[in-house]
């Protein structure tokens, strides 16, 4: 994980470091259990393929959100505070896929109390397959003393 990113380290158009992870069946099941998602398409191969027409069990949405958060805060460090996240599921992530998270800074705007909003677009792919498109807004400090986690009320409007 990076030390705390500050605004001076961020440029519109810059790429974030890429994260790649091989998905195993345990990755899917761990993620589903961690997010308390007991639905069978996330742990039952026969149900996922026979009932839902899928190729295998699939990563679940709440856990994918947690992976996106991990990807972003690996880059920002612990002061990075996620303000909003939007994602569109395009294709499923299966065991055997290698997830590749690749982000790019699309916009930087001032926020309150020496913090700034950084908008990032992230594509999650697995080989040639586009799996999830994500747009996120994360607050980062502008100065060493600034702390986005201190923002409340009207100062926090992601």
């Amino acid at each position: 994980m990076a030390a705390n990113l500050m605004l001076g380290d961020v440029k519109e158009g810059a790429d974030l470091p890429v994260l790649e992870k091989l998905v195993k069946p345990v990755t899917v099941v761990l993620g589903a259990v961690a997010s308390r998602d007991w639905r069978p398409q996330h742990h039952d191969y026969k149900f996922a393929t026979g009932n839902n027409g899928l190729d295998d069990i699939i990563m679940n949405t709440p856990n994918l959100a947690a992976w996106f958060e991990r990807y972003l805060t690996d880059w920002t460090g612990p002061k990075g505070r996620l303000g909003r996240i939007k994602f569109r599921m395009k294709d499923s992530v299966y065991p055997g896929d290698t997830m590749k998270f690749a982000g790019q800074v699309t916009k930087v705007t001032r926020a309150a109390k020496n913090t700034s909003w950084v908008d990032v677009k992230i594509e999650l792919t697995a080989g040639a397959k586009g799996c999830v498109s994500c747009e996120a807004r994360i607050a980062v400090p502008e100065t060493p003393d600034a702390n986005p986690w201190k923002l409340k009320g009207d100062d926090w409007k992601p």
Partner: protein
């Protein structure tokens, strides 16, 4: 903004649009054990969730990761007295049942985060249906898209998150 809903919806489903439904409180403790399970599942070493000193310094004590917001409302698969498993996002399952669309996936999800959720918090959530589309056919099958939201507030009435989901309920081709 919600899309306009289909003209051919059952009246009962149409009556749900704009209604606050399923006002519920969290039923199990919000605590760091669950957080660490998510951290482990995503191999996330953010010290904010592993190091109490870091948490104290940055956030005045432990907080839970923003994207875990929906975890706190997912009911136990089994609990004493239940004869059937409880499901989260009951509105989504009601739509599947009432519209005769047994399979479903979530296609879009937006979450706006507010006040951090902390161990010991008691949260309240409500679900709101915004729209249901006409019948559409995708590679999965024929069905309808629906757009619904979830509001989460803490025991002080502070907004912790606002979620918006698009689900696609379908019959397989």
């Amino acid at each position: 903004m919600a899309a306009e809903s289909a003209a051919d919806l059952p009246e009962e489903v149409r009556s749900w649009i704009g209604q606050e439904r399923y006002k519920e409180k969290t039923g199990f403790p919000i605590e760091m054990g669950y957080v660490l399970t998510t951290m482990s599942a995503t191999q996330n070493g953010n010290p904010l969730y592993w190091d109490e000193k870091a948490a104290q310094e940055l956030t005045g004590g432990w907080i839970t990761p923003p994207t875990m917001v929906s975890v706190w409302f997912r009911p136990h698969d089994w609990s004493p007295g239940r004869t059937e498993p409880a499901v989260p996002l009951q509105l989504h399952f009601d739509l599947k049942a009432k519209l005769g669309l047994p399979e479903a996936v979530m296609s879009d999800n937006t979450i706006v985060f507010g006040e951090p959720i902390r161990p010991g918090d008691i949260l309240t959530t409500t679900q709101i249906l915004h729209s249901v589309s006409p019948l559409k056919t995708t590679k999965l099958g024929t069905g309808r898209f629906w757009d619904f939201g979830v509001l989460i507030v803490n025991q002080k009435g502070e907004l912790c998150a606002e979620e918006r989901y698009t689900g696609f309920g379908y019959n397989r081709n």
